[in-house]
């Protein structure tokens, strides 16, 4: 059966230390200066270097129609990214069928900031005096659920918590949902909030890269539906692959994953212009790789589960010079996941 090649990214809402929105982030990217600075929202734990990649201040109320009594930081970031994607993709309330619209989101830590708050109350005050409002927001699926509720997105619903490859897996799931026709539109990407336990866990395992926070959410759909509402595709989502293995064999797993992703995309290795990856994944790339390799999170910090989504957003900062791009992420557990993004179709192109 031929694989559909008309699946596109029609909008991107992104927030990271580079800025808010595609335009602002792209401008910061072009400057090429690291955007990790001393933390302002958290006191650094222990002996930590205090550099973090914080998202600049923003008012969620400016982006969302309904006020929120409480939000975890990860939910705040994902809701903002979704609002930005809808706005830039010209997606009005009547432009999508709720049951045919899916959500596929990746995060490593979910509502960790809230879980920490909730459990601190438990320790300090006892089980009877915990705050009921906090508990549902501590769930790893709180953020994706809030997006579903905000815009009545009722179709396929997948929340990936697979560590550093989570949002790459989410984007592959979006691609598959569209390929088999289980959805007409998928809001896909990832979000990671910064929390003290997350920072402490990184230090405890010897990870000294500045932690970052951020979100990137894409509208993934067919080219025809994008154009039908007057929007233009930003890129093609051509293919992807996910693999697992032991940590010791991550380089081999990574190579296999990349080979499979390129085959899935129908591209030869020489057709890729840029390989976007994370600082932690870069060592597992073949040293003879023919592409320009960019460890993008050197600029905005390690966003863990949102890593793949933020890398995909970076590919859109300067599409003419970066696409076709390969996004490669891996987890210390031995997992790898890769995505291939292509240049947007110039004109309406059909089918397969």
């Amino acid at each position: 059966m031929p694989v559909p090649r008309d699946i596109v990214i029609s909008a991107c809402g992104t927030l990271s230390a580079l800025g808010i929105g595609l335009e602002e982030s792209a401008a910061a990217w072009q400057e090429g200066e690291p955007a990790c600075f001393p933390a302002t929202r958290l006191d650094p734990p222990g002996e930590a270097d205090n550099l973090v990649g914080e998202v600049p201040a923003f008012a969620l109320a400016d982006l969302l129609p309904t006020p929120k009594a409480y939000l975890d930081r990860q939910s705040e970031l994902l809701l903002a990214a979704a609002a930005l994607a809808r706005r830039t993709g010209r997606l009005g309330d009547d432009d999508f069928a709720p049951e045919r619209t899916g959500l596929a989101i990746g995060t490593a830590w979910g509502g960790m900031q809230t879980l920490d708050r909730f459990f601190a109350d438990y320790v300090a005050k006892g089980a009877r005096l915990v705050k009921p409002i906090l508990f549902p927001h501590s769930y790893a699926n709180a953020a994706i659920s809030l997006v579903a509720m905000e815009w009545e997105v009722r179709g396929p619903h997948l929340n990936f918590v697979s560590g550093d490859v989570a949002s790459t897996q989410a984007l592959i799931a979006a691609l598959d949902l569209l390929r088999v026709g289980e959805a007409d539109l998928v809001m896909a990407g990832g979000a990671e909030g910064l929390s003290l336990p997350r920072w402490r866990a990184r230090l405890a395992t010897g990870n000294r890269q500045p932690p970052g926070e951020g979100a990137a959410l894409f509208l993934v759909e067919r080219e025809a539906t994008t154009r039908a509402r007057g929007a233009a595709p930003l890129a093609r989502l051509l293919g992807g692959a996910l693999r697992g293995g032991s940590p010791a064999s991550l380089a081999a797993t990574g190579n296999t994953t990349i080979r499979e992703a390129l085959a899935d995309a129908g591209l030869a290795p020489h057709e890729i212009r840029t390989c976007l990856t994370t600082r932690r994944s870069a060592p597992f790339l073949d040293s003879h790789t023919p592409w320009r390799v960019c460890a993008a999170d050197d600029l905005y910090g390690d966003v863990e589960g949102a890593g793949g989504a933020l890398l995909a957003a970076c590919a859109l900062f300067d599409p003419a010079s970066m696409l076709p791009a390969l996004v490669f992420t891996s987890s210390p557990d031995g997992s790898a996941a890769a995505l291939v993004l292509g240049l947007p179709p110039a004109t309406n192109s059909s089918g397969t």
Binding site: P98, E99, L103, G110, M112, L115, F119, A120, Y122, V123, G126, A127, R128, K131, P132, F135, P136, H137, Y139, A140, N141, I144, S145, A148, M149, W151, V153, R154, P156, H157, L158, N159, F160, V161, S162, G163, A166, I172, A173, D176, L177, R179, V180, E182, P197, R198, A201, L203, A204, A241, L242, R243, G244, G245, S246, S249, S331, D333, G334, S335
Partner: protein, 391 residues
């Protein structure tokens, strides 16, 4: 070209009854109570003191021993070992899709409370049990972790089926698990969904649910892969769907529209109509809102036929196994199909005229079951439904 069929070839369970699928089945057939007083941790004076705590359980020794094992991963290891043994074949060509609400939180909360080394904080991130299971069992296929509250393991089965059909894996072990811990228990109590009575799904006097711990595991593989190695299918996973009701973090929408949607979609995914379904294994939590709206969803989807479509709810006997619940109910659906026997819903005494379904009560009901539907839901509006077809 017809899509490749997806077969279930192995099943494993660790529940409050004990560690095996057979123990689960035998317990459910006689509606044996799986609920007891929680005594693993200090309840801190909370009124909710009963749940499905697993006792006297020791995880099996895995092929590759692990230095540390949290409770939930230990439960999952037992279920996965049983499922892989039944399925046979080569574990090294198998991927892993896992799902839970809380992951290894029993270990993570010790670090949060300063009772364990800082390295244990990584247990607060949900990928840790997946990493441990894959390493312990020597699995080298794709590793995916999902968290979708109490619809998690049903959604994991749905996603695994999609991965197989898309050709992204040949064979997947799907595991759902959760353990009771201080943090989880105090949070679940704070939401006021728990009863001081027993769980009475669809009963007029139902007053809430009781939470349990445990794990489920199912091996899924494509028909061609199963046939090539001479594997024995237990059932076909013929339809699946996930969704979100888009309504509320903890309350179901009117007439459980989200449940009706995913049940309808799972049936359509199998190329069937509601008239083809022979039995429903319901989410049936025993809370007033869930059972009322789930019954309404069944009535809306099946029309007049709902009055004679047998429904059972396993949570009356074993409680609500959180992230493992959907997968456990999938296993029971398959067992019902294979044995031609539907286990009764425990603790049912008085019909609720507003939540009327053809509930199997008191004793198992014999039935010829070709297509069985399993419905799951969870906090955050998560929904998932699975359709199993007899092979």
């Amino acid at each position: 070209m017809a899509a490749e069929r997806i077969f279930v070839t192995g099943m494993g369970a660790v529940t409050p009854y004990g560690a095996s699928v057979d123990r689960l089945w035998q317990g459910l057939l006689v509606a044996e109570p799986g609920i007891s007083a929680i005594d693993r941790f200090d309840l801190g004076g909370i009124a909710c003191v009963k749940g499905g705590q697993i006792r006297h359980y020791a995880p099996p020794a895995p092929p590759h021993p692990l230095p540390r094992l949290d409770l939930a991963t230990g439960f999952a290891l037992g279920a996965c070992t049983e499922a892989l043994a039944q399925a046979g074949g080569d574990a090294t060509e198998t991927g892993l899709v896992t799902a839970s609400n809380f992951g290894a939180l029993d270990e993570g909360e010790c670090a949060l409370a300063g009772e364990a080394p800082e390295t244990a904080l990584e247990a607060c991130a949900q990928a840790l049990p997946t990493r441990r299971l894959a390493a312990a069992l020597g699995l080298d296929g794709p590793a995916v972790t999902l968290s979708l509250s109490c619809a998690a393991s049903a959604a994991a089965l749905a996603h695994a089926a999609a991965l197989l059909r898309a050709g992204r894996a040949r064979r997947l072990l799907v595991a759902g698990y959760d353990a009771l811990s201080r943090c989880a228990w105090s949070g679940l109590c704070s939401l006021r969904t728990m009863t001081r009575d027993c769980v009475r799904p669809f009963d007029l006097d139902r007053s809430g649910t009781l939470f349990s711990e445990g794990a489920c595991a199912l091996v899924l593989e494509r028909e061609d892969v199963c046939a090539a190695r001479g594997g024995e299918p237990l059932a076909e996973l013929s339809g699946w769907a996930t969704g979100n009701n888009g309504f509320h973090m903890t309350a179901p929408p009117p007439r459980a529209a989200g449940s009706a949607q995913v049940m309808r979609a799972a049936i359509a995914c199998a190329g069937l109509t509601p008239g083809d379904v022979d039995h429903i294994n319901a989410h049936g939590t025993g809370t007033r809102p869930n059972d009322l709206t789930e019954a309404q969803a069944i009535q809306d989807l099946f029309g007049p036929r709902a009055a004679s479509l047998p429904v059972t709810a396993n949570k009356g006997a074993i409680g609500h196994l959180l992230g493992a619940a959907g997968g456990i109910e999938a296993i029971v659906s398959i067992l019902s199909q294979r044995h031609g026997l539907i286990p009764p819903t425990a603790n049912f005494a008085t019909p609720d005229p507003e939540a009327r379904v053809d509930l199997v009560v008191a004793r198992p009901r014999e039935a010829s079951l070709r297509h069985v539907l399993s419905n799951s839901a969870g906090f955050g509006g998560c929904n998932a439904a699975l359709l199993f077809t007899k092979v």
